[in-house]
């Protein structure tokens, strides 16, 4: 079954003569448990497409479904719930809150209200940190962690709510080769456990970890290979 179905989605920035089509009439289907890698040059529309698929932005036109459900005309509340529970995103830069410890950063999605974080959430957060290999570093602040460890915290935050799909926008972009390799290995491991992954990368060797690779150029999918 498709977890994501995109039918002829486009994203246009600006209007009139200055309009730029970042994503141009893209159709895509993604099956549950699939590991998809998006390749392409800078400005080819990879990140814009990922933002659209991850429900972080809305396409200018086209249809987009998550588990068969239209997520373009979804209410704000439902969209927030989707982002909190089912869709997770990690970025090239970890985006950890500097004043929170690793565990607190993982708990960030659970602090969305006046109700205090429950103990079960804390246990899940610790378990997530253990999964990404950060046992014993729960109470460290981001500046007390290496770049790779910070990215692992971001992954722990992403998987803490047991999402169905993880979007990764150049997760190894700011890391050295060795650390990057370990992140890709971690993502592959998570994929093997059933997590659907969509990853953007510039590095061909990392793309080898994916089940499918799509190549983008000028906002369009040029190559779609298994």
């Amino acid at each position: 079954m498709n977890i994501i179905t995109a039918n002829n989605i486009s994203k246009v920035y600006g209007n009139g003569d200055s309009a730029v089509k970042a994503v141009d009439d893209v159709s895509l289907e993604l099956e549950k448990g699939e590991f998809l890698c998006i390749l392409g040059r800078s400005g080819s529309g990879k990140s814009t497409l990922l933002n659209l698929l991850a429900a972080l932005d809305k396409p200018t036109c086209g249809k987009l479904y998550f588990n068969g459900r239209d997520i373009i005309n979804i209410s704000g509340g439902e969209l927030n719930k989707l982002r909190r529970k089912q869709i997770a995103v990690i970025f090239q830069f970890h985006h950890l809150l500097p004043y929170f410890t690793a565990e607190e950063n993982v708990l960030l999605p659970c602090m969305n209200g006046i109700t205090p974080v429950k103990n079960e959430h804390r246990n899940t957060a610790r378990a997530s940190l253990d999964i990404v290999g950060l046992s014993g570093k729960h109470n460290r602040l981001p500046n007390q962690l290496s770049g790779g460890e910070q990215q692992r915290v971001a992954i722990a935050r992403a998987i803490c709510s047991s999402p169905e799909i993880l979007f990764a926008d150049e997760p190894t972009g700011s890391l050295d080769k060795e650390t990057g390799d370990s992140i890709i290995a971690l993502l592959s491991e998570l994929n093997k456990k059933g997590l659907t992954i969509v990853m953007i990368t510039h590095q061909q060797d990392y793309a080898a970890a994916a089940d499918r690779i799509i190549n983008m150029e000028n906002g369009k999918i040029k190559i779609n290979s298994y």
Partner: protein, 385 residues
């Protein structure tokens, strides 16, 4: 840990900025509180001083006469009978009103005619202590009025009839020796002879009777109409406010208060703008953070609340400190100005109002930046890196 933890931690993260902001906000609030208290006490002090230059409420017996005029010419009054007020009862009626703290002087008067060398002269029996309060310009000493009978003559009446110190004025065949001649004041006191009320009542057989009572009331804390209606409720007499006197005094006090309120308004406006700029720069700096919060499912109201809570936390702390600083500054300033504060207790209600106002200012100022933050598109916020 909850949403407010983010607000608290963000303040802790930039302590210097929070402290600088708080210091400026505290200074603004302290200035507002200080000015407010100083203006209130200056107003009260001014009114107390102004009330010493004459009464603003007159209590008379019920009308049993009516004035007669024809063609614009005043022909006097048609009196059916001379009536009096009961001195003890009426003075008590004034002193026992709800706003009795606003009554600064109650001066009863009995007017009779006397005789000097066959010429009629007008005598006013007065309560010296109250009269001196209402006429601070009179050149008489406080120890002189303590004598059982003290009689003084106004400048014009003394000049016209050749009355000197030691001269006897006859009232009902009783001689009253003039103890002092007043300097010229340019008012009604120049034409009258004043003597001790109780003695005049005794001499004329009008025990406990007075023709009218002048009252000096402070009006800054309550309208004069309330004082008049409260006195009226306690007595059958006619109670009239001397509106022109009241208005003139209240205008003077009101002008000072209005000036202070203008300054307060400017300070509050500056505080709102400063807070708005502070929050706006905070939101701009934290775009990434807000973007990630939106990406992990934070709703727009949650983002709005987190930003406003940050402003609210600073406002509550600044409100408490600003109130304390303002209150004690006003105490010091008033001490320098030699104005006595009767009540030295810190008014808790005022403190709560100050904190409330600070909170309102902060949330109002933070609302626009918070709305901007809540409306951030996560994709745009995160792509700015």
């Amino acid at each position: 840990m909850n949403l407010f933890t983010i607000s608290f931690r963000n303040i802790q993260r930039r302590p210097l900025r929070a402290v600088l902001f708080s210091v400026v906000f505290i200074a603004g609030l302290a200035a507002v509180v200080g000015l407010h208290y100083v203006s209130i006490h200056i107003g009260q002090s001014m009114e107390e001083k102004l009330s010493r230059f004459g009464a603003n409420v007159m209590i008379l017996p019920k009308e049993n006469s009516h004035s007669v005029s024809y063609g614009g010419v005043q022909l006097g009054s048609l009196s059916y009978a001379v009536t009096y007020l009961n001195e003890t009862e009426t003075v008590y009626a004034v002193r026992s009103i709800e706003f009795n703290k606003n009554i600064s002087a109650v001066a009863p008067k009995l007017i009779v005619t006397g005789d000097y060398n066959g010429e009629p002269v007008l005598l006013a029996g007065v309560d010296w202590e109250q009269e001196i309060f209402l006429n601070p310009a009179w050149d008489i000493l406080e120890e002189d009025i303590k004598t059982p009978v003290y009689t003084i003559a106004g400048y014009s009446v003394a000049d016209r009839f050749g009355i000197n110190i030691g001269t006897d004025i006859s009232v009902n065949e009783t001689a009253l020796k003039v103890d002092h001649i007043l300097a010229e004041n340019g008012d009604d006191s120049d034409n009258l002879i004043f003597t001790t009320l109780s003695n005049l009542q005794s001499v004329t057989g009008s025990i406990n009777k007075v023709n009218f009572i002048e009252v000096a009331a402070l009006c800054s804390a309550c309208p004069i109409d309330d004082i008049v209606s409260q006195i009226s409720a306690n007595t059958d007499a006619q109670v009239k406010a001397l509106q022109s006197v009241v208005k003139q005094r209240m205008y003077t006090i009101g002008f000072v208060e209005m000036l202070v309120w203008c300054i307060i308004l400017i300070i509050l406006t500056a505080s709102v703008l400063m807070m708005a700029l502070f929050m706006l720069s905070s939101v701009n700096e934290r775009k990434k953070e807000i973007g990630i919060m939106r990406a992990v499912g934070y709703s727009k109201p949650s983002i709005f609340t987190a930003i406003c809570a940050e402003a609210a936390i600073l406002a509550i702390l600044s409100g408490i400190a600003g109130y304390i600083a303002g209150y004690f500054t006003s105490v010091k300033v008033l001490a320098v100005m030699d104005i006595v504060i009767n009540d030295n207790k810190i008014p808790v209600e005022d403190a709560l109002i100050t904190i409330g106002v600070a909170l309102f200012i902060a949330v109002a100022a933070a609302a626009v930046p918070a709305l901007k933050a809540a409306r951030l598109n996560p994709a745009e916020a995160l792509s700015g890196l």
